[in-house]
Amino acid sequence: MNDPVSPTPRRSGRELAAAIARWVLGGVMIYMGVSKALHPVDFLKIVRQYEMVENHVALNLIAAALPWFEIFCGLLLVCGIAVRGSALLCLAMLIPFTWIVLQRALAIREAKAIPFCAIQFDCGCGGGEVIICHKLLENGLLILMSALLVIGANRRWCLRHDLRKAG
């Protein structure tokens, strides 16, 4: 029977893994957000290229708010505040974004008739031009980490795991 005061090595391993996932995901979100927030015009041009919205206010809103929103979620994750809600928001950003990057990559492959993993472009991810295969793999891992944090309940090294209840 597990002692709630002194966790088993297996439980400790899970908690450590959850904390690392939180720090990695949070760190990546902060990095991506800062690099976009520093150059909002560059991000605006990239968002426009995706042709997601035609209304200029909606376009500006995405380009202006998304970078800071990523930083906000990243900071919450790194500090361990409202972890599941933050991770859910990361999922809500990562899944559609990965989908549109994939769609654009497929369109480029069709237009240029080149191998999928030879496609590279600035996807607006914050790191400049990237090889899309690598980006999709990276996003897949981030989605996995976000999902694990949403379903997990490890509170170790969290300032306040749940908003409504002190962690």
Binding site: H39, L44, R48, V57, N60, W68, A82, S86, L88, D162
Partner: protein, 214 residues
């Protein structure tokens, strides 16, 4: 903690995050103005794509003239698009000729660099004014008097698929610079530097000349 609680937590964070994000954008010196149309006359489809599409559509007409290279088609489509907006295209050799004309030193011919601070500082056509059109309140007061008195205003950006020169020229037209004096140099800084023509680094008239002779 159930799914309902997680969803509620996420919604609370989304509202708080959105408010904080908009505040941060408002306070940032590089923040975007939400109500401003940064791409006037555009439908969200970038000019680079429009050029490509227009090029393929006009293939038959242009090929009869024997000039159906993709670059030529792109130039023709760009020239047509600029003409529709009352602007004119100018080629590199003509820009170089204007640069070498004594009227350039007298600011009767004015060059406008439509790129951001970082690119402008790295290198621009010597004597060119910077006009980052995304921040007009910062640049327009400094360049408008020169543009209003010039007989020719050449606007350029990076070149290639860059559309900022076109939008900057439209912004100058909007600011009362007569459209017949506005020229868009589509080759841009990439072509200018590639030809080994003089490039000035740092501020305007810094005297730091690369590539060519001052």
């Amino acid at each position: 903690m159930g799914w309902k609680s997680i969803l509620l937590e996420a919604l609370t964070l989304a509202a708080a995050g959105l408010a904080l994000s908009l505040t941060a954008n408002f306070l940032s010196p590089r923040g975007l103005v939400l109500a401003r149309d940064y791409f006037p006359g555009s439908t969200g489809r970038s000019a680079a794509m429009a050029i490509s599409a227009a090029g393929s559509n006009s293939n038959q007409a242009v090929s009869s003239a024997g000039t159906n290279s993709p670059a030529r088609l792109g130039q023709d489509a760009l020239a047509a698009r600029l003409a529709a907006q009352g602007l004119q295209l100018i080629d590199g050799e003509e820009v170089k000729r204007l640069f070498g004309d004594p009227q350039y030193a007298q600011e009767l011919f004015v060059f406008v660099d439509a790129r951001d601070d970082r690119h402008y500082q790295q290198g621009h056509v010597p004597g060119a004014y910077q006009f980052d059109r995304y921040y007009p309140e910062k640049h327009l007061p400094a360049i408008l008097p020169a543009c209003l008195t010039a007989s020719k205003v050449v606007v350029y950006c990076t070149g290639g698929n860059c559309e900022d020169s076109e939008f900057a020229a439209l912004a100058l037209k909007e600011a009362s610079v007569p459209q017949e004096r506005l020229f868009v140099y589509a080759g841009g800084m990439t072509e200018w530097a590639a030809k080994g023509w003089p490039v000035e680094a740092g501020e305007r008239k810094s005297g730091v000349i690369q590539n060519g002779k001052p």
